[in-house]
Symmetry: C2
Subunit: 346 residues, 2 copies
DNA sequence: GACACCTATGTAAACGTTTGCATCGCCGGA
DNA sequence: TCCGGCGATGCAAACGTTTACATAGGTGTC
């Protein structure tokens, strides 16, 4: 292993000068700077990250703690975060598990001293969890987490507005019995989408119908099961809004199994607009979420507080932000006269 | 910030004893161990990662350097790596960019001192790149990289065998003119798949037909373009093998645009078996690659060398390994009598 | 020519942890 | 009683950096 001492020796200066030269300090003459630089590159020197972190107490790394997400979402989010982080000269330490209680704590602890800040996605996050684990004013940006529970900055997508737009769209097509396949229990996104659904029904003058709200768990299977349940109702819905696309896929196959046509017999809408949505037959009407942008924004927010001259200190009051969603209309909702996908901003 | 000194003070011992107690050294009495442990948990102490790394020169972190991958592949790979790493008590420092030449070097350098080993996926990796950048015997596992170019352990999927199985399958269905949409130039996976295609043609007694090998770049658009090119040939192919599923999707839409039926007019096969493959109409015959397993295996291999009692030293000669692929037959290849997907091991 | 000032460099302390070595008390054997 | 050995603990060095402070040389001013 080759250290800065070696570089200093070769360049014929002290370690201090070498360090300064490598860090572009204004205290070294141009001549010594180049001499040190040359020595460093000749020796293939790179500074030892841990040593730098120890003395400067900045790691230039952001931690990314995610639940065990499914494909597309996960990768897009990381892509957005990593790209922004790299531009700011930061690394990403990622970890993904089912973070319930103690596991989350363990994950957080083990990152301590290795990261300057955290992007934490935890739809079941509670203040209690943070209290013990997160040191006082550690910079954290929460993703898609319940707002009231915490003092941290947070970021989420316009779940409510997206769901509202979808249901309004369905109601606008004349549907009176619109069912919803709900997301996982205790999940913030799921709760918000449900709230949007209900509000849109109300605003459209449609009656509440609790039997049309069936549980789901964001998985294909649960979408499939939910449709089975719905089809057994005395009066079956004419439109179904699934709280995410995976469940919509499961719903579609269940409808097909039952010999029903989409959208002729039942209209269908999803949420997330995963890439697969446009390739299904019929193509799935969904609510588009720019996941990479969400990640990028989270990273930006974190970097802002990290490189602020005042040092890593969050804003006085926690700052919430919501990223817009877009309704993408395709064939599955039966907007008959429309052939090319139309987008409606929310 | 709360350090081990604090813990020691509270527990009424020296830092050395505190450290030993926290690290389960056999040199401390049971009584002091519990006393120290208690103090630590009362103070919410967690050891400072950087300091530990500096002294022990182990970071308990593995670096993951990937090209800018598309969705599913990326996330599955990370999932596999991270899961295995976590089980071994390791973190993952991931970075993803178009790593050509200097960028790759920069990425590698900046990880120096922050990771104990590296999972490096770089289909264009050359020995020259490694020579300067990677310190002598730094533990690295290469993913899907050209074999001869390097001294490092490497891991890849059975591209050759998978492609061979696909083309044999198509030939077995009676096709005589089987086209291939090639992958990106200079990409190792792409080259291997091409090799498998050619070998299968030869073994099936089919003539070489260079005009049936059209270039592609692993993107939907290039698949679309490739089909346009193929349809303009004097004698058009009856089957098309795309070097990955994305291109197969593009190809499918181009075929549909041209008014051709799949598989009636043209049979179609892909590679990777991304989740979307089974939801297309017709469902896509593809070659399944267990990406998460690939990642997990890579991590396992790396951890083995990292925790080996001999310390981090790679095996004397570089060790290659290939993960099996599976042919998944669906409707797009027109295996008429088969209704449920059949799997054929390779 | 003495003095202050500025600029470039060197010296050494610090970051938080682990660990080799010294120390100390205790026990058993002679 | 003395001594060797051993088990538990403390002391201090070390890891590779950065940086406050000291220092040395040069330059300008009186």
């Amino acid at each position: 292993m080759i250290t800065i001492r070696e570089v200093a020796r070769v360049a014929g200066v002290s370690v201090a000068t070498a360090s300064r030269a490598l860090n572009d300090s204004s205290l070294v003459t141009r001549d010594t700077r180049t001499r040190v630089r040359e020595a460093a590159s000749r020796l293939d020197y790179s500074p030892h990250g841990a040593a730098q972190s120890l003395i400067t107490s900045r790691t230039h790394t952001i931690g990314v703690l995610l639940p065990d997400l499914h494909g597309e979402f996960f990768s897009e989010l990381i892509r957005g975060i990593d790209q922004t982080a790299q531009q700011g000269g930061f690394h990403c330490l990622v970890s993904s598990t089912r973070h319930r209680g103690p596991l989350l704590e363990a994950a957080l602890r083990s990152m301590w001293g290795r990261v300057d800040g955290l992007v934490l996605m935890c739809p079941e996050f509670t203040r209690e969890m943070s209290g013990r684990t997160l040191p006082g004013r550690f910079p954290v940006v929460l993703l898609n987490s319940p707002p009231s529970e915490t003092d941290f900055d947070s970021l989420s997508v316009a779940n409510y507005e997206g769901a509202y737009a979808m249901v309004r769209h369905l109601a606008g097509l004349g549907h009176r019995r619109i069912a919803m396949i709900r997301g996982a229990n205790g999940n913030f996104d799921a709760a918000e989408r449900l709230r949007g659904y209900r509000a849109a029904l109300r605003d459209a003058g449609l009656p509440e119908a609790p039997e049309l709200e069936v549980p789901g768990e964001f998985s294909e299977e649960s979408g499939h099961a939910a449709v089975h349940h719905l089809l057994r109702l005395p009066s079956r819905p004419t439109a179904i809004f699934a709280a995410n696309d995976s469940m919509a896929i499961g719903a579609l196959s269940a409808l097909r199994d039952a010999g029903l046509q989409v959208p002729a017999d039942v209209a269908l809408g999803g949420f997330d607009d995963i890439p697969m949505a446009r390739y299904m037959t019929p193509a799935l009407t969904s609510v588009r979420v720019d996941i990479a942008a969400l990640g990028a924004r989270a990273a930006t927010r974190l970097l802002e507080t990290l490189v602020s001259p005042a040092g890593p200190a969050p804003l006085p009051h926690p700052c919430r932000e919501t990223l817009p969603t877009t309704l993408v209309v395709r064939r599955s909702s039966g907007a008959h006269s429309i052939t090319t996908p139309r987008r409606e901003a929310v």
